[in-house]
């Protein structure tokens, strides 16, 4: 038993949050495998993986912003409408004033920032709950979209479509693969190795016992293996397709925002505000500014997601972004964020978003109707959060621990277990 827990501790870092992440990744892998078998191998084909990324990157981009909103203790219901509004404004301006597409993108981001400032103002400075402000925004900007676009679709120029439908170009020698995608995969591998090495260095400086080298080795091998596999899939698709541009935008955002939330003062302030706003205020955190920026940031990301969606579908329409907010919020909660704020990670939300995207995709591949898709998504959200709540009430989360519980003799935390006077006290509590 203790050997298993040691191994678990070493492989997954041993802390509660790492173990939770592991649990979510395990869920994701399970879903992938399930659909892979169910669809007879369709899920992991090049074409499908590429389609998943370009089709659902908007959920993930929204999930990044939504995570920060939810961690700060708010909610944003308006993201779908904001995305649609931005899309129509950008499409219309480019069409009627023949605005060059790079300026169109800039305009879209500015529109997002302005909307965000509007909503942030009401939330942070007037004190209206974000639920209400963004419920109002949901109506406001959905109506705005239809007002500006006359409830009609507006096409966008070719250059603009690249951010949603473009791929990494073919360059260099003919390797049978897309070279830039291969390079990207190589960079990812290098990044993973570097990060692992840095983590070991840090632990050494802190005089914490680092995991044995072979454990690090296994972990790296698994991660590099996954990266190599996906890289080859993306690089080996139909000629002309490769890793989507929207995927690159997504990766850049994920890296930047993970770093921001984990390693900077601003990021930590968001968690402080969500964890205990009064304590944060009395520690010198500028509460209003944090709330304002978080709401504003969300709208900017929603604007970006909206533009990517418009670019992919080549036109902006009145039905764009319908019920996106629900996908994004579900992704964040499946990813382990707390409903009451203060807890959650970008990487968790991304995994949650991927779960949602793969569910959508897999059910679609199987030709399941949208009625069943909604029912299944609803149940997945409920079960994921219920499982989280349950595991929290049982102490720390532990997949292996959960699986091993029936065999364990020294467990006393659960009331259902018979008391066992022979429980050995000298053994450290099972980590993670």
């Amino acid at each position: 038993m203790s050997r298993i827990s040691d191994l678990q501790k070493n492989l997954f870092g041993g802390t509660a949050s790492n173990a939770r992440q592991f649990g979510m990744i395990a869920t994701l892998v399970a879903i992938v495998l399930l659909f892979q078998i169910w669809t007879g191998g369709l899920t992991l084909t090049s074409g499908n993986l590429i389609a998943v990324v370009s089709q659902y990157s908007y959920i993930l981009i929204l999930a990044i912003g939504m995570l920060m909103v939810i961690v700060a203790g708010h909610i944003d219901l308006s993201v779908g409408s904001v995305a649609a509004f931005t899309g129509i404004v950008v499409a219309k301006t480019m069409q009627e004033h023949s605005l060059p597409w790079p300026l169109g993108i800039l305009l879209g981001l500015l529109v997002g920032a302005a909307i965000g400032a509007w909503q942030g103002f009401w939330v942070a400075y007037v004190g209206v709950p974000a639920f209400i402000v963004t419920l109002a925004g949901m109506l406001l900007f959905r109506g705005g979209n239809q007002y500006i676009g006359n409830a009609d679709t507006v096409p966008v120029p070719t250059g603009f479509r690249d951010i949603g439908a473009g791929f990494l170009p073919e360059v260099g020698p003919d390797t049978g693969y897309n070279n830039l995608t291969l390079l990207l995969g190589l960079l990812a591998c290098a990044g993973v190795v570097w990060r692992e090495w840095r983590a070991r260095q840090t632990r050494r400086v802190m005089h914490a016992d680092a995991a044995p080298l072979w454990v690090t080795g296994i972990r790296l091998a698994v991660m590099v293996g996954i990266i190599v596999f996906t890289t080859l899939r993306f690089a080996g698709g139909r000629v002309g397709t490769s890793f989507p541009i929207s995927g690159i935008i997504l990766i850049a955002l994920v890296l930047a925002y993970s770093y921001y939330t984990r390693n900077t003062i601003g990021g930590r302030h968001i968690y402080a505000v969500g964890g205990n706003s009064r304590a944060a205020e009395l520690s010198g955190v500028k509460l209003r500014r944090v709330n304002f920026l978080v709401m504003m940031n969300m709208s900017v990301l929603a604007a970006l997601a909206g533009m990517i969606f418009v670019a992919r579908s080549a036109a902006s329409g009145p039905q764009d972004g319908l019920s996106w907010e629900l996908d994004a919020i579900a992704a964040v909660f499946i990813g382990g964020a707390a409903v009451s704020g203060g807890l959650g990670t970008i990487s968790g939300s991304i995994v949650g978003g991927l779960v949602m995207a793969l569910l959508n995709n897999g059910l679609q591949l199987e030709g399941v109707g949208s009625d069943m898709v909604q029912i299944i998504k609803g149940l997945v959200l409920l079960l994921a959060v219920a499982f989280d709540v349950y595991s929290k009430s049982q102490g720390r989360f532990s997949i292996i621990g959960t699986l091993m519980r029936p065999f364990r003799q020294n467990e006393t935390s659960t009331p259902v277990d018979p008391p066992n006077p022979a429980s050995d006290q000298d053994k450290a509590p099972v980590a993670g």
Binding site: I265, R268, G275, N276, R278, A279, L282, G342, L343, V430
Partner: protein, 515 residues
């Protein structure tokens, strides 16, 4: 007393949590009609024992036996123990603020007539119960509109509505002022005369000495001893010895004050209540703090000490009307908390759980939270420095925890308080305002906190201590201001300080010149 029959016996109760033994072979014998006090430091297992008794930790999750009124009982939840007449009143009151006194008294226990609530009967019975606990209020008053002391009485009335045989009170007077505490203790004596048995958990040893018939002392999850107050001639020192396992020579560490110049001065500080236009919470308060000096603020609850401190600390309370603050002879402005921190002020709140700490955080994150810039470069936090600094504080303040990655919520009250102190020491303050720094903390940890305060003034900082415990102020402070209804009513030096003088100034507007 010894002839009375045994009401409750808990035999060799052992309760373990993963990795921790909370109770090891604990025995408790409570006789009918007595007031039984349970003493022990924080983490000694008092609350766990009461949770075992009341069924919060259900039968089966512990080993040992509970014999109640002659029968072995197995409570599977709180409802089962309440049906047997065991009612526990927690430190955090379980009342619904927006409901009336009557509604609260019968919450979950509503008198029914033909399927709907019989409000007439409830009203009638509520008046009876309120009479019994000495609560004079309109039963339709909302609970949020009455003071903590009266809320406590509503809780007790609620217990009586359930036909209580054994009343358990967890820190009943922690949040009460002297008058309300006294009233509550008298009430307990009255219950005893009527044959109701009470178990009382308290850190206030003087109260225990005053009302308890029997005292059981727990330490580290074990029963140390059971004392008969009259027969054994128990006094406070005797209890302390049992709790800490050694004789405390003194409640305060030795300290030779080294007091310098006045460096902090507040003049005519006037602040209005946030909700009411007429009410002033600070009325022209003027005071000074010298380097190396511990200055006390004495006053009854609601006198405006916390309001004064918080309004100084970046205007965190009320509406600022007038007043000036000088530091080292220069006027400073403290309009926001970050300005106050930059100017070298630190405020350690009286309520560490709801406004002092983010309970989701781990220890190291909490410690650096008030000055992240100190461990950052270009806004990026250096995790290695964060860890190292937290480790330093853990060792120098002797915080009992396996590591600084632990969540603060797992620490005992005393250790949490040390984390909060570390958080504010980390901001390199010149003036620390400590609001009730030892509330809810056991004797051993108090001693250590006093030591930390003395070390801080030893470094030339000024410390303001706000406390409701006069012995603490008298033992610790070099100078004490008394506050009454928002105004400073007196100033007493260590030499002249005594409880009578302070109490007189704390309860009257008349300024008594210190002799």
């Amino acid at each position: 007393m010894s002839s009375a029959p045994v009401l409750l016996e808990m035999r060799s109760i052992t309760k373990t949590f993963p990795g921790v033994t909370a109770l090891a072979d604990v025995n408790l014998v409570v006789k009918e009609g007595e007031i039984h006090a349970i003493c022990g430091e924080n983490g000694a297992g008092k609350s766990t024992l009461m949770k075992v008794l009341s069924g919060v930790h259900p039968h089966g999750s512990y080993t040992g036996e509970i014999v109640y009124r002659g029968d072995t009982v197995r409570f599977h939840d709180i409802r089962a123990s309440e049906q047997a007449g065991i009612v526990i009143i927690h430190q955090e009151l379980a009342l619904v603020p927006g409901m009336s006194i009557t509604e609260n008294i019968f919450l979950g226990n509503e008198p029914r007539k033909r399927g709907s609530i019989d409000w007439k009967a409830a009203q009638h019975r509520a008046l009876e119960l309120m009479e019994q606990v000495g609560l004079k209020e309109d039963p339709d008053t909302l609970v949020k509109d009455i003071g903590v002391g009266k809320q406590q009485l509503v809780e007790i009335a609620k217990a009586f509505a359930k036909d209580v045989k054994l009343l358990i009170l967890d820190e009943p007077t922690a949040a009460l002022n002297e008058t309300d505490s006294q009233h509550l203790l008298d009430l307990l004596r009255g219950f005893r005369d009527r044959g109701i048995t009470s178990i009382m958990i308290s850190h206030k040893l003087n109260e225990i000495e005053a009302v308890a018939d029997t005292i059981t002392i727990l330490r580290d999850g074990r029963t140390i001893e059971s004392l008969d107050v009259e027969a054994d001639g128990v006094n406070e020192d005797r209890i302390v010895r049992g709790m800490v396992g050694r004789e405390l020579d003194s409640r305060f560490p030795d300290h030779t004050p080294d007091i310098g110049e006045v460096f902090f001065e507040v003049r005519d500080w006037t602040v209005r209540h946030p909700a009411s236009d007429e009410r002033l919470v600070c009325k022209g308060s003027t005071f000074t703090v010298r380097r190396g000096e511990i200055v006390g603020f004495a006053g009854l609850m609601g006198a405006g000490r916390t309001e004064l401190a918080m309004s100084l600390f970046g205007r965190s309370y009320g509406t600022f009307l007038s007043g000036r603050v000088f530091k080292d002879g220069k006027e400073i402005h403290l309009k926001t908390v970050s300005e106050a921190i930059r100017q070298g002020l630190a405020y350690v709140s009286e309520d560490r759980k709801s406004i002092g700490l983010n309970l989701l955080d781990d220890i190291k994150t909490s410690m650096v939270a008030a000055k992240l810039s100190k461990i950052s470069r270009h806004q990026v936090i250096d995790p290695v420095r964060e860890h190292r600094i937290a480790e330093e504080y853990r060792q120098s303040l002797r915080i009992k925890t396996p590591g600084v990655d632990e969540e603060v919520v797992k620490l005992s009250g005393g250790n949490q308080q040390k984390v909060v102190l570390a958080k504010w020491m980390f901001t390199d303050p010149d003036l620390l305002i400590l609001d009730e720094p030892t509330r809810g903390i056991d004797v051993g940890a108090k001693y250590e906190i006093y030591g930390i305060i003395q070390r801080l003034v030893g470094e030339g900082k000024g410390v303001i201590v706000i406390s409701s415990e006069l012995p603490e102020l008298i033992g610790l402070c070099d100078r004490i201001y008394t506050v009454f209804e928002g105004a400073i009513t007196g100033e007493v030096t260590r030499r002249d300080a005594n409880p009578e003088l302070l109490m007189k100034q704390m309860t009257s507007m008349k300024k008594t010149p210190s002799p």
